[in-house]
């Protein structure tokens, strides 16, 4: 069986089981996700939507008492790769499969340092290149005009919506191919939510987006496809 023939598939999950402290959270989940699209993951609280996201960038691995079985493949640089394979460098995976959290989590440093942080981790030293990429990513996140004169300010001084866009921009700066968002607008007001929805719609040309959302209107507005989670498994595709 040769899956890689189907070039439109970006993420392929096969027979995924996940349990937390011996309690099953996901059972035998199998799904494909197409590239350059927005998929909304919906369903009631506690059915494993966030957990599912974490299996795609292996962020669950540090949780005590969590265990996973199954296969997750993601097409990176044109090649479908098993992300749990030994050859997959964890830091590389996280740069290519970026994540934005429910509550904006800028680091306690300036806006510029927040943006430069992933590049610093990657060992980028060329200052002008760093600045150029910061501007590019902030523009992509529609935040540049609002922050260009205050890059040295503490990122925590921004409004909630701005902080979340900063986190999206920071995730984009490593040029990821997949962007995972865990209820990115749940702590924001209507206006900020609308700005971020528009931003995500614009981003799908560049990358594949999976977004966990509680809000039905939001799901309808922005997603190309809806995956509903219910009691340990996916019910509708």
């Amino acid at each position: 069986m040769n899956h890689s023939a189907d070039d439109t598939i970006k993420i392929r999950v096969t027979g995924l089981d996940f349990s937390y402290r011996k309690r099953p959270v996901l059972k035998n989940v199998t799904a494909d996700f197409a590239g350059n699209s927005i998929t909304a993951l919906t369903g009631p609280s506690g059915v494993g939507k966030s957990t599912f996201l974490m299996t795609l960038n292996r962020l669950w691995e540090d949780l005590p008492g969590a265990s996973m079985r199954g296969k997750v493949e993601i097409r990176l640089q044109g090649r479908l790769r098993d992300i749990y394979d030994r050859s997959m460098e964890l830091t590389e995976l996280r740069k290519k499969v970026a994540m934005v959290f429910q509550t904006p989590n800028p680091l306690p440093m300036s806006i510029r340092k927040n943006m430069a942080f992933p590049l610093k981790l990657a060992g980028e030293r060329d200052k002008s290149a760093v600045n150029a990429r910061i501007e590019e990513a902030l523009r992509m996140a529609n935040l540049w005009d609002e922050v260009k004169d205050r890059l040295e300010e503490d990122a925590r001084a921004l409004s909630g919506g701005q902080q979340q866009r900063l986190c999206i921009a920071r995730a984009l700066i490593t040029e990821p191919e997949v962007l995972l968002l865990d209820e990115p607008t749940s702590s924001l007001d209507r206006h900020s939510t609308a700005i971020i929805e528009e931003l995500l719609t614009g981003l799908k040309e560049r990358l594949t987006i999976l977004v966990v959302s509680h809000y039905l209107e939001q799901v309808v507005r922005i997603s190309d496809r809806v995956v509903e989670f219910a009691g340990e498994t996916i019910v509708s595709l």
Binding site: T91, K95, F101, M109, P118, K120, L121, A122
Partner: protein
Amino acid sequence: MKTVREIAAERTFLLSALASSSITVGILAFMVFMGLPLLHEGGFFAILGNAWDPYRGAYGIYPMIAGTAAVSLLGLAVAFPLSLGCSFLTAGIAPKPLRGVLRRFIELMTGIPTVIYGFVGIFLLVPIIREFFRDGSGMCVLTAALVLGVMISPTMTLFFRDAFDRIPRAYLNAADALGASRAQKLIHVMLPLAKKGMLNGVILALGRAVGDTLIALMLAGNSAQVPSSVMEPARTLTAHIALVIAADYESPEFRSIFACGVVLYLFTMALTFLVRYLAHGEDARI
């Protein structure tokens, strides 16, 4: 309305609070009072600055202050890198199962009585230092500082760990999700954010090093001279008190230990205030 029981409880608690705080003040007053005759003879600062030479009537505690400073600061210099390494290992560099085991060991080490450390120091480290440097008896500032450093480092490590544990999960998630390796996360995120808590650990460990009696008494050689190198013996304030108290009760030597007590007391209090002051600073920013 407060009931009689509530009022009674309040009064009782107030009384116990007053009792324990007045004991603290009382101890200081007692030490100052007992040291008064010495103060009359030469003034307080003369005692602090003078040499110890009982045959000529000089009861200055300067050598002991210097000895304490040498042993405890060097001990701190030994303990800091040890604790940093241990806390890094248990906070994330070591594989998960090993982290737990290491942590247990470190917690266990805080409970080992000081005298055991001193004992091991005498039979293990003293001969090594003596043979290796071929200079003196092996009981010197270096020996005491090495053992003291090992002794205070578990406490310091636990403080460091505690500072790491208090870092908000959101920041760690951010670092993980942005592709930071475990070492990068430690250096670029955890260390800067834990700085304040770690400084507290260092200060309190210094307090422990200064206050410790047995290690210096058993290993530093106890000569009441200002040490001119780490290979020379020294006597700390605490060891001085222990040595003099064992000898007699009435002499001017005996009076001098109250001056030592006052110095130790004031130093510890200064450290406590420093920790309090640091605890009130603003939020950490990298």
